[in-house]
């Protein structure tokens, strides 16, 4: 049966006219919405946000309406809910904790810090343990999204490097305890590339090596990737907000598109061993764990990692914290303590994660001889002294944040 020509099946032109009218009508709902609209943003007059940096250590404020839990409480019986990066916590650790405390442990993963911070900031979900990075923690504390710690429950904090027991981003460890440390260097497939970073006068130039076209990766991180561009040009303040520096970093990034078809990823620990990437901006922990993802027949000397010998490169650390609306805060404190135990921290590092915890008992000089880190990757080992010379990524002002994000978005637009 033929369709009658008048039979239109997909809506009238009037639809557009009427929906425009409808939208105007909707705006009159504003008063109603303002009355009942729920906003999860904190409504308070905040003390001025102090931007922490190694030169400017900050003692985080304590608030009356966000008290720490009392001492001497028993751990709860509920399910411990952890919010973490993927592949960043050994399942055996989770099982061990679950057995010791007779509880269940559930881990949820986020893909980017931005995504995690957004969800935690919105208060839309509640977790017991969270793993923020140093450049986000100040805002979360000021926004009362994290609860202060009661260190009576975390005696193992004394196992940590002294400089990290009283870190610049949270003096006195009021809200956080350290988790992992790393450096951000350049990882590569020694068996595939023709020139290593050391073959260049300016090692960062290896990103532009046309021989690795289509196989060069940067980290898909709006602060880490530009940092290497700044360091390539000798700018050591990787937290600069100077528009000229931001523009410089942006243009350097853009030049990589044409030069080598640059790609972005945070799966460095598989891209390099799998051969997807021959040169990859890499976190040191990923370099160490990459040895566990090598395909059959490929040895660890196929992997390489470069970091400036003078220590003037990007370093970082992250921490564990307890969100304010955690359902099992006492249990969470015990979990933090559990991870800071020397044995647990070491096995977490060597069995699964590859990132190094800042534990005093961990001797960096023995890691190669103990077979934890292969000889070809010994530059990926982190030492406490590195933090005196390296550059950490710190918080920015809202304008700086916006400027960097816009520059990053422009680069990602492939202009």
């Amino acid at each position: 049966m033929t369709l009658h020509p008048r039979e239109s099946r997909y809506g009238r032109p009037e639809f557009l006219r009427r929906s425009a009218a409808g939208l105007v009508g909707l705006s009159s709902l504003s008063t109603l919405l303002a009355a009942c609209g729920g906003s999860n943003n904190a409504e308070f007059t905040p003390p001025e946000l102090k931007l922490a940096s190694p030169d400017n250590p900050v003692t985080q404020p304590l608030f009356d309406d966000n008290p720490a839990i009392a001492s001497g409480l028993d751990p709860e019986n509920g399910t411990l809910r952890i919010y973490n990066w993927n592949g960043y916590l050994d399942p055996k650790i989770k099982k061990g904790f679950a057995k010791e405390y007779g509880v269940k442990v559930e881990e949820t993963f986020f893909n980017t810090t931005d995504e995690a911070v957004q969800k935690i900031s919105s208060g839309a979900i509640d977790y017991d343990v969270f793993f923020p990075t140093e450049d986000r923690v100040g805002r979360l504390i000021l926004g009362k999204r994290l609860q202060p710690l009661n260190l009576d429950y975390v005696p193992n904090l004394k196992n940590v490097w002294p400089s990290f027991q009283d870190p610049w981003y949270d003096k006195g460890s009021r809200y956080t305890v350290p988790y992992m440390t790393w450096t951000t260097g350049i990882g590569y497939r020694a068996d595939k590339i023709q020139k290593t970073p050391l073959d260049y006068a300016n090692p960062y130039e290896i990103y532009w090596d046309e021989a690795n076209r289509g196989k060069t990766y940067l980290l898909d991180d709006s602060r880490d990737a530009p940092a290497h561009m700044l360091l390539k040009n000798g700018i050591t303040n990787i937290n600069t907000e100077d528009p000229k520096d931001i523009a410089l970093a942006k243009n350097e990034l853009k030049s990589l598109i044409g030069a080598v078809n640059i790609k972005l990823s945070t799966d460095d620990y598989t891209n390099v061993p799998e051969g997807k990437a021959w040169v990859h901006q890499m976190w040191s922990g990923s370099a160490v764990s990459a040895q566990w993802y090598l395909p059959e027949g490929l040895g660890t000397d196929a992997l390489g990692y470069w970091f400036p010998a003078d220590g003037h490169g990007t370093i970082g650390s992250d921490m564990m914290a307890i969100p304010k609306n955690a359902k099992n805060p006492v249990l969470a404190h015990h979990f933090l303590n559990y991870l800071l135990d020397n044995k647990n921290g070491y096995s977490n590092f060597t069995n699964y994660v590859g990132y190094q915890p800042p534990l005093k008992s961990l001797d960096p000089d023995k890691l190669v001889s103990d077979g934890v880190v292969p000889p070809s990757l010994k530059t990926a080992i982190v030492r406490e002294s590195d933090f005196d010379r390296g550059f950490a990524i710190t918080e920015l002002t809202p304008t700086g944040q916006a400027d960097w994000l816009n520059a990053w978005a422009e680069f990602k637009a492939g202009v």
Binding site: T2, R6, Y10, L16, S30, P46, V415
Partner: protein, 308 residues
């Protein structure tokens, strides 16, 4: 939609009953479809909490802050700016992918509709199958084949066309466009088939009887009659394609193939500038509404030309 042409008297007395029946659905859509758009608007026209850098939607139109929109429209209409480049690129990818899809879908639908015969059921099952296979699984299957050690390279080397494995996933536009075609073409075939199936053969017979060659019969009868279906098929796949961001992510991962969906994703989920992301969403919807308007106009016009 038009009323059925069966000489029926409208049941106006029962309007309350019918409206009442439709009410739950309409209310649902108002709350969970229209209202969210207003929230998007308010976020785009709102501000950003200075501490947590989360967006603060502004419900009161009198206090709307247009800076995010200014930023977005500035970027959209300045040649060479980021948003403009991405938008133009998206438009071209969608246009090319839609055209390729049409060139693939139409003959297949035509064949099954006209010459299916005994095999029609089986062929139709083959055409329907992609609906039941997750889009991502189909994409994943293709990625698997396109990898350095995948079958595409293996076959091409075996055939002697290539000497060494070609890196198809290195961020080239053709991989992304073909990925879009692969993903969306099934959605165009079925509507086309349904329509072509219903075209009266007698019209074509009449044309042949009047002396038209097969080609002329096709060009002057079948093609114009299938115009509404072609337009519908284009609308069904092009409009959602504008929002696609995961296809370039999976098949490329490089900035030079990123689409407007990727920029939206970056601003909404990735950063602390959600108002800009919301403004981008509004801009996209405005553009799509314009396209939708053009589609409706073209449909009505093509139906008029059919002498209706």
């Amino acid at each position: 939609m038009s009323e059925p042409k069966r000489g029926v008297k409208a049941d106006r007395a029962g309007d309350g009953f019918w409206a009442g029946l439709a009410l739950p659905g309409v209310v649902w859509l108002c709350v969970f479809f229209l209202l969210p758009f207003y929230v998007v608007l308010c976020v785009a026209l709102g501000s950003v909490d200075p501490i947590l850098l989360t967006p603060r939607p502004e419900w009161n139109p009198l206090e709307w802050n247009t800076s995010a929109f200014e930023f977005v429209f500035d970027g959209l209409f300045t040649p060479g700016a980021a948003f403009e480049t991405v938008f133009v690129r998206t438009f071209f990818y969608v246009a090319i992918a839609t055209t390729l899809s049409l060139l693939i879908a139409y003959p297949v639908a035509y064949y099954v509709a006209r010459y299916g015969g005994r095999w029609k059921g089986l062929l139709l099952m083959g055409l329907i199958a992609p609906f039941f296979i997750s889009y991502l699984m189909r994409m994943l299957a293709w990625i698997n084949l396109l990898q350095d050690d995948g079958w595409v390279n293996k076959v091409l080397i075996w055939l002697g066309i290539l000497d060494a494995p070609h890196n198809w996933l290195d961020g080239r536009a053709s991989s992304v466009i073909l990925g879009l075609v692969y993903g969306y073409v099934p959605f165009m075939i079925l509507p086309l088939y349904a329509f072509l199936d219903r075209i009266d053969r007698r019209l074509l017979e009449a044309a042949r009887d009047l002396g038209a060659s097969p080609f002329e019969a096709f060009r002057m009868v079948t093609l114009p009659l299938s115009m509404p279906a072609i337009l519908a098929g284009i609308a069904i796949i092009a409009l959602p394609m504008f929002g696609d961001y995961y296809t370039p992510d999976l098949l490329s991962g490089a900035p030079q193939t990123s689409l407007i969906g990727n920029q939206i994703n970056l601003y909404i989920r990735g950063g602390q500038q959600e108002p800009v992301g919301a403004a981008l969403v509004v801009a996209l919807m405005l553009f799509l509404t314009v396209l939708m308007g053009y589609y409706l106009y073209a449909t009505v016009r093509s139906q008029r030309r059919l002498g209706g």
